[in-house]
């Protein structure tokens, strides 16, 4: 057994009205990757913020190399050797890689001038230890996101960090970048560093995790050797109940009635001549790797991005879409992958967000909004979609991810959308709320709404759809019947290893 480097014992942290952590214990060994998993609100980020000095625990002790320590702020934690690699990276885009790595600790020449040459050389040394190929003298904003993450890691390494905390490090990376990251993580582990690895993507733990600890509702549930548990067991521990029915039974049945026909959509360098049909009662999945053009396809159909070519027919009628307003008027709704950035006005009320795309409906000819009608509309959808909120006048920012997604959905239902495009509908949403969203999607399809569902989670695609379009580098490379395919086959298509673009593989009922 390797030696323990970090241990927390019986940590409790309370916030007004909620116990975020309740006597949680956790330990980390030298040279291991310890995965920390749990639903949103399980207490993972609170624990990380305590370890990195952002919060102070109300009770409990942190031991670093066997010594009790107290971190009053993040600087103290960093000095003690704990570095956190945030989801949102903390680099200064206009400074060079070397300048970022040594920010605040620049090597000096005589006279107090910065020794740029030495700084650059030192940065190169650290980067080569990670075996990543990055020029230390180029500005960080010129690097792709994955390389910036490497710079963050190099920076932490230059701080002599012994404990690395990685919070959802793969969330924005492509498959090959994730591979690269895992290699670096293994190299760090071999150097004797301890890594706390937080991720929603349980599937990827098998590539890196040595042990896995589960938190639930602020409490410690279990710690296991990763080899000795299955993903199913981990999920069960996370949600505290068996997830036999991970996806709701499908009640909608595809018909042969075409709702939407997309013909020859192209956008230079992004989308190449994509055509497909969507049938009533059907849930059509779009799969592909990051960068394959899934979101771009959705945005092109919705008019959010310009397209160079292509026609769209709704119920057999050609519609001209050059802006989201055109698409919405025709009856298409889009639920973007980033709700907070593109789906909701977070500072505005639940009522206002639900009615935002259809204020005509609740206002008179002078454009005066009826508060009474608006309230009724909001109450209707809060009940129908089971949006958990103390009041319809709640600021949307204060709702949970699942309820925010339901709010975006309510907006489109109130707009009477006939086609809904869900882009990563359950990203960042609790397992329990996911089920509710999936159920809603199915019942919408049953009620005749055409559903397109983009997802990076293949189980979600396989569990929810009738048919799957697979994109690869902006091209439609495969149309698969969900019941006849599996993860491996989809991945083969997504990786560009297979193709069946005989687009005539229309639905065979």
């Amino acid at each position: 057994m390797s030696k323990e480097i970090l241990r927390v014992e019986n940590i409790t942290k309370k916030f007004p009205g909620v116990v975020a952590l309740d006597r949680v214990s956790f330990d980390l060994r030298r040279g291991e990757v310890h995965a920390l998993v749990g639903e949103n609100g399980a207490g993972k980020s609170t624990l990380m913020k305590i370890l990195s000095g952002v919060y102070q625990p109300d009770e409990g002790t942190i031991y670093l190399n066997g010594q009790p320590v107290v971190f009053r702020d993040p600087v103290e934690a960093q000095r003690a050797g704990i570095s956190i690699i945030y989801q949102e990276l903390n680099l200064m885009p206009h400074l060079t890689v070397a300048q970022n790595i040594f920010i605040g600790r620049e090597p000096l020449k005589r006279g107090g001038f910065i020794d740029d040459k030495k700084m650059s050389e030192d940065a190169a040394t650290i980067l080569s230890q990670l075996r990543v190929d990055i020029d230390p003298d180029i500005p960080v904003h010129m690097l792709p996101l994955s390389k910036r993450q490497m710079v963050e890691i190099a920076k932490a390494l230059s701080h002599q960090a012994e404990v690395f905390i990685m919070d959802e490090p793969t969330s924005a990376l492509t498959e090959s970048e994730i591979e690269e990251l895992f290699k670096v993580i293994r190299r760090l582990r071999d150097r004797g560093v301890g890594i706390i690895y937080i991720s929603h993507r349980l599937e990827e733990l098998k590539h890196v995790a040595d042990r896995v600890t589960v938190l639930r509702d602020g409490r410690y549930v279990s710690t296991d050797e990763y080899q000795s548990v299955t993903t199913d067991q981990i999920v069960r521990k996370m949600v505290g109940r068996s997830l036999q029915e991970k996806f709701p039974p499908r009640t909608s049945v595809p018909t042969d009635k075409k709702i939407l026909e997309v013909r020859n959509i192209s956008r230079a360098g992004v989308l190449h001549d994509i055509s497909f049909d969507l049938y009533q009662g059907e849930i059509l999945g779009i799969a592909g790797l990051v960068g394959a053009g899934r979101t771009e396809l959705a945005r092109a159909i919705f008019g959010a991005d310009p397209k160079d070519e292509g026609e769209i027919f709704l119920f057999g009628e050609k519609i001209n879409i050059s802006s989201p307003a055109d698409a919405i008027r025709a009856g298409i709704g889009y639920l973007p992958e980033d709700r907070k950035l593109a789906g909701l006005a977070l500072e505005m009320l639940l009522t206002e967000n639900i009615t935002l795309a259809n204020t005509e409906e609740i206002s008179n000819s002078l454009g005066i909004i009826s508060n009474k009608k608006e309230k009724q509309v909001a109450e209707h959808y809060v009940n129908e979609l089971d949006i958990r909120t103390p009041s319809v006048f709640q600021v949307v920012k204060n709702l949970s991810g699942g309820n925010q997604q339901k709010t975006v959905l309510a907006k489109w239902l109130f707009r009477k959308a006939k086609v809904l495009i869900f882009d990563e509908p359950t990203r960042g949403i609790d397992v329990g709320a996911k089920y509710a969203i999936h159920k809603l999607i199915d019942s919408l399809a049953k009620n005749g709404v055409g559903i397109i569902m983009i997802s990076s989670e293949l189980p979600e695609i396989l569990g929810m759809t009738d048919r799957i379009l697979v994109l690869h580098e902006g091209r439609l490379v495969g149309t698969l019947q969900t019941r006849e395919t599996n993860q491996e086959e989809i991945l083969n298509y997504a990786a560009g290893l297979a193709s069946n673009t005989s687009d005539k593989t229309e639905i065979t009922l």
């Binding site: 009205g17 593109a342 795309a357 709640q394």
Partner: protein, 334 residues
Amino acid sequence: MAETVSQMEKVRNMMQRFIAVAALIALFVVFSLVTDRFFTIQNILTIALQTSTLAFMGIGVTYVIITGGIDLSIGSVVALSGVVAGLAVRAGMPVLIGFLLALLAGIACGAANGLMVTKLNLPPFIATLGMMQIARGIALYVTGARAVAGLPEEFGILGNGALFRTTTTLPNGRVVTKFPGIPYPVIIMVIVAIIFDFVLKHTRLGRFTYAVGSNQEAARLSGLNVNKTKIIAYIISGGLAGLTGIVTMSRIVTAQPNAGVAYELDAIATAVIGGTSLMGGAGTISGTMIGAFIIGILRNGLNMQGVSYFIQQVIIGLVIIAAVAVDQLRKREG
């Protein structure tokens, strides 16, 4: 737990409004106690009159700031539209037509600002900084940098007249004012404030204004016409700057191409003291009115106390900083 969060937020928002109103009342009480002639009908009407132009500009810029923009051209537009009115009337046009042309000049400047921000995709700071120079330059050029004087008496009615002014003639023939009347600019201020408050709170345009400032991309993806909403906000700001120009020049019965320098900063201060966020998405007309009156009462009261104009500037600067600091502290607690 969500319930307590929203309750706390509600209480905090009320607190902020309460602090602003309390500050307004406190100022009023203090000045009433320390200055004899402060709490008189005459003086209260004077304060309202002095505040009216500040309120017009503040209301206009509040719309722009809620969309996430800024309007630095206000002071120059005040001068340009005033000059347009003056020149038109001196050229023989009826006063009413002159005023309408002035209003149109303001609206045109606002529309130009809006088009630059949306169609040319310029940062609002830059677009309106340019307009600030352009409008001022035109105002100075067309007048040869000289005041447009010699205007007919009717030019001054809007700025100097009052409703319900009652006078009696004493037996000795002297005319005594029993009630000074409500100055026309004050009446216009009340109407403008009510209309623009209603529009912002209860109409689709108002809703769109908040939505664009709160999350522009979400607004666009909800089918809102983001550009149109922004252009209208700049037109409102330009139009109300035009109105300010008319009232200001009417009061002195002279069109001054040098008038209105740095008024935009007063207008922005008014909005900010009233709780409008420079980040966009938040702000109210009632808040801006409170902000305008805080500045108006401070100026009036300090004047009566004989406080130097320069010291007044210092005090108003402190008030702006304090108002926003309170707002920031409030947010940090949350």
